[in-house]
């Protein structure tokens, strides 16, 4: 994989959440420093080199938006991922305007946090995935015509199915939550009720899996969906 390990600054006033997040980050091979307050985080940025910041919006001394503004004023350009309990577009837009790069609402799944962090890293280092020679099991992916080929067989995907596959593909092996897929594929930031994602995953599964064979696309109860190529 393209990603290297990151050294992260975690700014979170809730010690339990900080402990869990730190554990996940270390399990994923990253290292992290934890600060409880915005002021302390700004000091830490001046003394250590970090690859990215995970920043809670509701901090005791100043809100996360202010921390980012101050960071940007001081010339720190590293990516910032907001953690917040406030789930509305106005706050999201405010966070992005202040200089944040992405946004995770509590409660969140660890895989979602990782997926977003890696996307930020990818953007920061300007890495792009090679567009050719992508394979999923026996399938060869044709991103231009948005279809799959194998042994003279061709499967056409609708634009939305293709986007879904691409998002899953970009996070191969990682379980992605329904919330994350809704946002990335349909730009929807609420739960639309009816099992729309499940139905779409089933449809995609029917197109890419061999009948009766093992599935490339697994549902993990309580967590979400994961794309894992099977031969």
């Amino acid at each position: 994989m393209l990603f290297s390990t990151m050294h992260l600054l975690l700014v979170e006033d809730d010690s339990e959440l900080a402990r869990q997040t730190g554990l996940w980050l270390r399990e994923a091979g990253h290292s992290c420093a934890w600060r409880e307050k915005g002021g302390a985080a700004l000091v830490a940025l001046g003394t250590e080199n970090f690859d990215a910041v995970i920043l809670d919006v509701g901090l005791p001394d100043m809100d996360g938006f202010t921390v980012v503004e101050q960071m940007r004023v001081r010339g720190f350009t590293l990516p910032v991922l907001f953690l917040t309990a406030r789930d509305n577009v106005t706050d999201r837009v405010r966070g992005l305007k202040a200089g944040g790069d992405d946004y995770v609402t509590k409660p969140f799944a660890v895989e979602e946090l990782m997926a977003r962090l890696e996307a930020l890293q990818r953007r920061a280092i300007g890495g792009v995935q090679p567009a050719v020679n992508r394979h999923l099991g026996r399938w060869t992916l044709d991103p231009v015509k948005r279809r799959l080929h194998a042994d003279g067989e061709t499967v056409e995907l609708s634009p939305r199915e293709w986007t879904l596959l691409e998002v899953l593909w970009a996070n191969e092996g990682r379980t992605l939550t329904k919330k994350f897929l809704l946002e990335k594929v349909w730009d929807i930031q609420f739960d639309p009720g009816t099992n729309v994602v499940d139905a779409m995953i089933c449809r995609l599964r029917r197109k890419i899996d061999a009948p009766g064979g093992p599935s490339h696309l697994q549902t993990v109860r309580g967590k979400g969906y994961v794309l894992q190529a099977v031969s």
Partner: protein, 467 residues
Amino acid sequence: MFSKLFPKRLPSTWRLGLLLTVLITCSTGLCITVAGWAMRRNLSSIARAVVLDDLGEYAVLYNRNGLREITEVFAAGGHEESQAVRITSAEGRAIFEQVPEAVGGYDWPDHAPVKMKPSETMLVTIQHSTRDQHLLAGCQVLDDGNVLWFGRTDAEDIAYVDHIRSQLWLAGLASTAFMLLPLWWFVRHVLNPVNELMNSARTLAQGRTDERLIAPHAVPELQAFAAAFNAGLDRIDALTSELQSANDNLAHELRTPLARIRGNLEIFHDHSENAQARDAAARGMEEIDRAADLVQTILTTRAGEHQALKLHLEPCDLRELLAQLHDLYQAAADERGLRFDLEAPFPQPALIDRQRINQAIANLLDNAFAYTPGRGRVTLALERRGGQIRILVKDDGPGLSDSDFQAVWRRYTRGSAATANTPGMGLGLSLVRALIHAHGGQTGCRNREEGGAEFWIDLPVGEAKSR
């Protein structure tokens, strides 16, 4: 009383203007009529006096020196153009005639109308043969038995009265212009401010609380009214922002512990090899996600109901938005064996919070999908109705009972067709209503004649502004 005379929709400015103009015209007309009548009366009595006076003078001259004296007087000149002198014999033959052109056209009588004694005088009025003018003629029997006639035409008097009348009309017009000054004042200081206040109030009715009533040119009473009204709005605003921050705090207080529990469950799930334990943790995570959504729904509904919802308004095309939702639900519809149609025949730009409107429509679709049996049909449609846009979700389900129509929009109320297996807590439609009210729109529902229910969202187009 007067208001009945005007068409209902005529603005007050025009009503007042018309009323003033009619009143001034009537009073000016009345003044002119009365003044004209009085002047004519005056002038005619002056004319009688002049005629009798001059008749007497000419009679004295004639009686003293005969016709020669009269001839000399006229030879000397200076005779008025509007006056004529005639002398006729007792038989009616004209002996002397001095009739200027202006006095021509009158049919003088040959004899005095009655038998008269010498030096007795009499007045007669002679109508002009073609014009609406009169000649006031006096006659006196002279000492030698001849008759002296002296006539004076009223042409000059009529011209004079007409002149005065036109001057009076001019004065009337000028006074009308002056009378319109109070109208101008009324329009500027009363009517226009009332209209401005009305516009502000309309904006407020659409849910904007940052608008204030402003009427800088208004009369003090209206300014006092606006100030009192604004004070009320300030108070509502303060309560709204209090509610907003209370909502934010509540969200934080509830979501953070949910996040802690979920995190621990996830760690447990990922590190446990026991399938049962993993399943239990997975169920726990599902419940937590549901609880987090519920908290968000309740807070959003509460904020929407109290006009405290922060909207992120952006221009977007409703047809495109509906097409995306149609696309999102299509797979789920196929899975259920439902026919799911989109009827959005025209692009419709609107200034809305895209996520919130999406969420409202998604809730209606979710409802329709839950209540429509297999092989049924759900339709998502866009219609134009006057200045409003209607988004409809029609289904083939069991429809609504009479008690449902209002009740379904309330929190924690489920329609009578809900069963134990129907998902939801009865919050969906109250959320829809709150989101749409926050946009200044309306929601409604009815049973379709062909069966099933129809829910709709009415949105004002382009009127709401960024909050």
